[in-house]
């Protein structure tokens, strides 16, 4: 065991604890950014002027009439920007655009004494537009050769030889939808100017440092003049990694210009129409199997629909490519990726960050091909699992592949899968109008930011003279329980009871240069940093204790609130006080960086991940043959979180991720107006009434989640593993079960093309397909034999993702 992963006796990590703010949540006393407004008298409210075109040039902007509206204080336009008019870091996201790039793009912002005044002011602003042609679908963009960013290619083996050797070759096409984050708390920033021009922005952000960077470059000030704080978020899911910055900059700009606090909170409709989403993808593929059902070759071209600006699309696409193998060994691989530029919101990070999209492609392929190969899908998946000694297509050895097998076998056993398969067959044989099916899918998900530089974190730990401990770290709390885990880490590292440790809100003036709380890495990175800070303190205390107890410093222990050595011990608080009087520094800045990572995005090769997280799910559904409506009867999951830091939190992440993934795959329906009418490019599902999240009615009727036991991870803090994203992809089992249930309405061996999301309507069309009825609108022919249909290959202008281009030219952009 490494020093990082080793647990002391009686650790506080590993205890099943409620969320650290649970009692504040349930009593309504937990504060979110917008709850602070009432504490700042004189706060102004911001409202956007949103363009009613998907693509248009702004030919005239006259804000004067807004000032005639009572209560309007200021209208912010591009002319007001003292620094850089850019909400991003690549200079492709003007904060105040002269060219409207998506329906609902805000061209200016109105500040009012009340939100109502600002709203009425925004209606008074006069804007003339010259409409321009708009690319709305990913296919529109492909046809117009409209791409942005790098076009990575990941290759291994010999693709031509692979297909020639294959005994079964299939080709297909698959377009699947993105997903709205629908964090319950919409984007919100509250900015004020403190003493001496110091700008203080409270923001619902997963990435306070980058929010600080963008605010600074918009204001044209150094970063030291901007402080960003995030108390907590009402959900993030990746939607607040990159997207809050522009709104924070608007609020900060308004505050500096008016001298008054400015609140910018988006309504739900504004949030859905303006903020980026999970990328929908288009995939072309051909796949080869040998005569025993083993994958021998995969050739695919993935096109991510990036929307109007690049945002995080390159790393999202890179992760999609790196996860197209999921848990399966494919000897010959060629995957091309590209990013469509379309007139939609700028698609961004969302839990899984491209991983789900890459994995969906291979799971869809396996689900469609299993009946054609005459194999049970459970068998087909299982026989293609990685085994020890194999590496991913990007060259990283697959460590612990046996964990996927262990999870699989445990689900087979505890889920009573064989017996239930027999029950399902019996049920289906006597029910003409209703069919059931059970599907199992695995997850293998790489943990770490692909870009090596982001795998670092900082923390600040104070021990006060009374022994109480205050910790800060660079991570943000969005409900994932990071703060709970960090409290447990600090209490464990210092050997004190949890009650002695308190956590202060995330602030850029406490811990600088932080990475986004993203990529599931929050606990790994910040946990490492908190632990490091605590150990610096205990090392100093150890020397004093050695002298005091007359033992070697290494013999001193910190446990259960006592400092002990040589048979003597002293309460922590008392010892800390003694240390103060011995002039020992009782605080420390901690730092952590993940060792052993390397990645070259230009060739898509390296070992970008510290480890893989594994999991397996089995889902049983029942489908109504009259309507396509379905219910999820039972879900069994075994998931690998290493040695859990906080089991209640981790199980919550597994369950929540699963249901969110099921929402993406079955229910949540982003519908853009693709007509040539005046609303072209408008999002039709822009409200909770039209964009449906899973509710209680989608929760599995029986839901069994277990964490894999004895799963110590040597490379991470206290032997744990990341948990935020991987469970989302367990939901493939729902989609595959729906596919199989729809197929059960047809003859044995029916291969089903299922649209994503698999809404009741989509399932109904799949049933019709199975019955041999009307051809569904999403049908794509599969061609067997030969070497398949070769997917589109990159054109002449294509270039790979430049190393570091994910965050290129950040330096000094605002100074």
């Amino acid at each position: 065991m490494s020093a990082l992963s080793d647990r002391p006796t009686n650790p506080v990590v590993g205890e099943s604890l409620p969320h650290e703010a649970a009692s504040l949540h349930v009593t309504g006393q937990a504060l979110y950014t917008d709850d602070l407004v009432g504490r700042l008298p004189g706060t102004l409210h911001a409202h956007p002027v949103q363009a009613p075109h998907a693509h248009a040039r702004v030919t005239r902007l006259d804000v004067s009439a807004a000032y005639d509206v009572p209560g309007v204080v200021r209208v912010l336009t591009a002319d007001d920007v003292p620094g850089v008019n850019d909400a991003g870091i690549k200079h492709d996201e003007p904060l105040f655009p002269s060219e409207v790039m998506y329906y609902g793009h805000s061209v200016c912002w109105v500040l009012g004494e009340t939100l109502e005044a600002a709203r009425l002011g925004s209606l008074a602003v006069e804007v003339d537009y010259e409409p321009l042609p708009a690319l709305v679908t990913v296919k529109d963009a492909i046809a117009a050769d409209s791409f942005q960013g790098g076009q990575p290619r990941m290759e291994r083996g010999d693709i031509d030889a692979g297909f020639e050797a294959a005994t079964h070759v299939f080709s297909g096409e698959f377009e699947f939808a993105g997903q709205e984050h629908f964090y319950l708390e919409t984007h919100c920033s509250l900015a004020q100017v403190d003493e001496n021009g110091q700008v203080f922005v409270q923001c619902s952000t997963q990435h306070p440092t980058e929010t600080q960077d963008i605010v600074a470059h918009v204001l044209g000030t150094p970063s030291h003049a901007v402080t960003v704080q995030c108390l907590r978020m009402g959900g993030g899911f990746g939607g607040k990694e990159m997207q809050p910055h522009g709104y924070a900059a608007i609020a900060a700009l308004g505050a500096t210009l008016t001298g008054r606090p400015v609140r910018l909170r988006l309504t739900r409709n504004q949030d859905i129409t303006m903020s980026g989403k999970r990328h929908g993808f288009h995939a072309q593929w051909r796949v080869g199997f040998d005569d025993t059902g083993h994958l021998v070759a995969l050739d695919a071209t993935l096109t991510a629909d990036g929307g109007w600006s690049l945002d995080l699309s390159e790393p999202v696409l890179a992760r999609a490519l790196c996860h197209i193998d999921n848990a399966y060994w494919i000897p010959n691989v060629r995957v091309n990726g590209r990013i469509a530029k379309s007139h939609k919101t700028s698609q961004t990070a969302f839990r899984g960050f491209g991983g789900p999209q890459g994995m969906l492609v291979i799971e869809d392929i396996l689900g469609r091909c299993a009946p054609l190969l005459g194999l049970d899908p459970i068998d087909l998946r299982r026989r293609n699992f990685y085994v020890h000694g194999q590496a991913t297509p990007y060259g990283q050895p697959v460590r612990h592949p046996e964990r996927a097998v262990t999870c699989w076998e445990q689900v087979l056993t505890t889920g009573d899968v064989a017996a239930r398969q027999a029950e399902i067959a019996a049920y289906n044989s006597i029910h003409e109008h209703s069919k059931r099916a059970l599907a199992m899918t695995p997850v293998k998900f790489g943990i770490s930011f692909n870009l090596t530089a982001f795998n670092q974190a900082g923390a600040l730990v104070h021990v006060y003279k009374d022994g109480s401990v205050l910790i800060n770290h660079g991570g943000t709390e969005m409900g994932q329980g990071l703060h709970t885990k960090m409290l447990q880490v600090a209490a464990t590292a210092l050997g004190v009871p949890l009650s002695m440790v308190r956590l202060a809100p995330t602030r850029t003036d406490k811990v600088p240069n932080t990475s986004a709380t993203a990529a599931s890495s929050g606990a790994d990175l910040n946990g490492g940093a908190v632990k490091n800070a605590c150990e610096q303190i205990t090392e100093r205390l150890r020397s004093l204790a050695g002298e005091r107890f007359e033992v070697a410093p290494a013999e001193v222990t910190f446990s259960d609130g006592m400092v002990s050595g040589g048979g003597e011990s002293m309460p922590w608080a008392e010892f800390v006080n003694l240390a103060y009087f011995n002039r020992i520094q009782l605080w420390a800045a901690g730092y952590y960086r993940t060792e052993g990572l390397h990645w070259d995005s230009s060739i898509m090769q390296g070992s970008p991940f510290k480890y893989f997280a594994y999991g397996v799910a089995a889902t049983e559904v029942e489908v109504d043959g009259f309507t396509g409506a379905y219910r999820t009867r039972r879900v069994d999951i075994v998931h690998d979180v290493g040695d859990s830091l906080s089991p209640l939190v981790d199980i919550g992440q597994v369950e929540g991720g699963f249901v969110q993934g099921a929402g993406w795959l079955t229910l949540e329906d982003l519908r853009w107006d693709e007509s040539d009418g005046p609303n072209r490019g408008r999002l039709a599902t822009q409200a909770a009434s039209t964009y449906k999240l899973p509710s209680f009615s989608e929760m599995p009727e029986e839901f069994n989640v277990a964490l894999l036991e004895q799963a110590h991870e040597d490379g991470a803090v206290y032997g744990s593993k990341a948990v935020g994203e991987p469970p989302l992809m367990l939901a493939f089992s729902v989609r595959e079960a729906l596919r199989q249930a729809a197929a059960a309405f047809g003859p044995a061996g029916t291969s089903i093309d299922l649209a994503s999301p698999a809404t009741p309507e989509a399932v109904w069309w799949a049933i019709q397909e199975a019955r041999g009825g009307a051809e569904p609108p999403h049908m794509t022919a599969m061609v067997e034999g030969g070497t398949g249909v070769v997917p589109d290959q990159p054109g002449n202008g294509a270039h790979p993702i430049e190393p570091r281009s994910e965050r290129a030219q950040r330096v000094s952009s605002g100074a």
Partner: protein, 488 residues
């Protein structure tokens, strides 16, 4: 007492409504007063992050704690009312039992939806008949009904994006009964506050709540353009999302003459301002078609506010009660200062959101003739089972005598500019045997009823297909039921 007399009680403390604009919803009103527990998640009554409890009259003269969406109801409509928020239920040092179960079981992650869940759950916790054995209401303990009688539909209007709901369900099903010293439980046995007769004027307009029907009709005659607001579950969305403002709004949800209920020998008369939850309780399953409808109608939070008259008053083609009420051959009693008239629901809708209701008229009651047909069903096609809007809704009421269809009434929603009767299908069934062959023929007729459109809810082709399968499903369900009833 506030100077102008407009006040309400929040968490036991009196609070003035003075200076509150009629367009201000209860959520913003509470948050402006520092009670930020209730949140805005969607501003249209879909997510429940704004859920609060209000003291409403129960059928026995006491008080029922009722959860509603604070984002939809005007603050002015709470004049004279009692409100409880998550802050009023407990504190971090003294958690309410609902709060404790939610906290210790991992029922909160980001916590933003949590205060709303807590209020919806607390209302169900305090439901006086909750502790009855679950089996007596037709439900055993299952995944939607806890061993403690907790009906999960109480939470159907609350969305959580983090947890996946399992720990919230566990918290709900673990709740015991209120203790003897629980003040909120004790409050149930005394009458609910009487809704105050109110006039509240602000910059956007005036909100008026008449004391009785005569005053309501006088007001309506004087203000023919006034917006009639009952539960405000539709109007509140217009205010929040579309920016609609009423120069004059008349709150009719508590007018006594609109809240009557009579289950007679030849008809049921339901007061228009009874909420769907109240109608559900008063009918107690005696109209099986409506009993099937209620759990599918929006969510409990909405049903606690929305009234049966309101669902007809908006004239929406996708309201869920019209297809059912059309099948039941319901009539509407329209009242004005000139008296009353009775209009068959089938003649009520005249166009998209247009009806025969004249200026100065309001819906006083809905009448359903008795006896009811033997075979009834409500089919709702939607993406989500709880809390969604229909893409197609079908109400069936069919009488089969000696194997022959004596009468068929089929109401459709979502397939035309108004709710309609499937007249051709009805004709294709009546007088013919209730057999698979006849049903198949009639189903083909039904497939071409209406003029379904493509939209974000579903394609026109799917809507047509669902019209085509609805009758087949009804017949299959009916046949299977009969088969199952035959003793082995």
């Amino acid at each position: 007492m506030a100077a102008d007399g407009h006040e309400l009680t929040i968490n036991g403390e009196t609070c003035s409504l003075a200076g509150t604009d009629p367009a201000t919803n209860a959520l913003d009103f509470l948050r402006d007063r520092g009670l930020t527990g209730a949140k805005e998640g969607c501003a249209e009554g879909e997510c429940g992050a704004c859920s609060i409890m209000v003291a409403r009259p129960d059928e026995g003269g006491g008080t029922r704690w009722t959860a509603i969406n604070a984002c939809l109801i005007p603050a002015a409509a709470l004049d004279g009312q009692e409100v409880v928020t998550s802050e009023g239920l407990g504190t971090p040092d003294d958690l309410h039992p609902v709060q404790r179960e939610m906290a210790v079981r991992g029922g909160s992650q980001c916590g933003y939806c949590t205060p709303g869940f807590v209020c919806s759950m607390a209302a169900e916790y305090y439901r006086a008949d909750r502790s009855e054995p679950a089996a007596s209401n037709g439900h055993g303990a299952d995944h939607e009904h806890g061993p403690n009688g907790f009906d999960l539909h109480a939470l159907s209007g609350n969305l959580c994006r983090c947890t996946g709901y399992r720990p919230i369900r566990d918290a709900a099903f673990a709740l015991g009964s209120p203790s003897d010293d629980d003040g909120y439980a004790a409050r149930r046995s005394s009458p609910a506050p009487v809704a105050a007769s109110t006039r509240l004027a602000g910059t956007s307009g005036t909100f008026a709540r008449p004391a009785d029907l005569a005053e309501a009709l006088d007001l309506l005659a004087a203000q023919p353009e006034a917006v009639l607001v009952a539960g405000s579950t539709d109007w509140g969305v217009d205010v929040n999302i579309k920016g609609s403002r009423a120069a004059y709004a008349i709150g009719i949800d508590r007018v006594p003459e609109l809240r009557t209920f009579d289950f007679g020998d030849d008809r049921v008369e339901i007061g228009a301002a009874l909420t769907l939850s109240e109608v559900e309780r008063l009918l107690a399953g005696r109209v099986p078609l409506l009993a099937q409808l209620f759990p599918q109608f929006a969510s409990r939070l909405i049903r606690n506010g929305a009234t049966i008259g309101g669902n007809l008053g908006t004239g929406s083609p996708i309201g869920d009660t019209p297809p059912a009420l059309l099948a039941l051959e319901a009539t509407l009693v329209l009242a004005s200062r000139d008296g009353e008239r009775e209009v068959p629901l089938a003649d009520y809708f005249t166009g998209y959101r247009q009806t025969v209701r004249q200026p100065g008229e309001l819906i006083r009651a809905v009448r359903i003739p008795l006896p009811l047909s033997g075979i009834t069903a409500f089919h709702k096609i939607a993406k989500r089972r709880f809390d969604d809007i229909s893409s197609v809704a079908v109400g069936f009421a069919i009488d089969v005598r000696h194997g022959v269809v004596a009468k068929a009434r089929i109401g459709l929603g979502g397939v035309a500019a108004t709710p309609i009767r499937a007249l051709a299908t009805e004709a294709a069934l009546e007088g013919r045997p209730w057999t698979a062959d006849v049903v198949r023929e009639a189903a083909d007729v039904m497939r071409s009823e209406g003029t379904p459109l493509d939209d974000h809810r579903s394609s026109a082709a799917y809507r047509k297909a669902m019209l085509g399968t609805a009758l087949l499903k009804l017949h299959a369900d009916d046949t299977e039921t009969q088969t199952e009833e035959v003793p082995a």
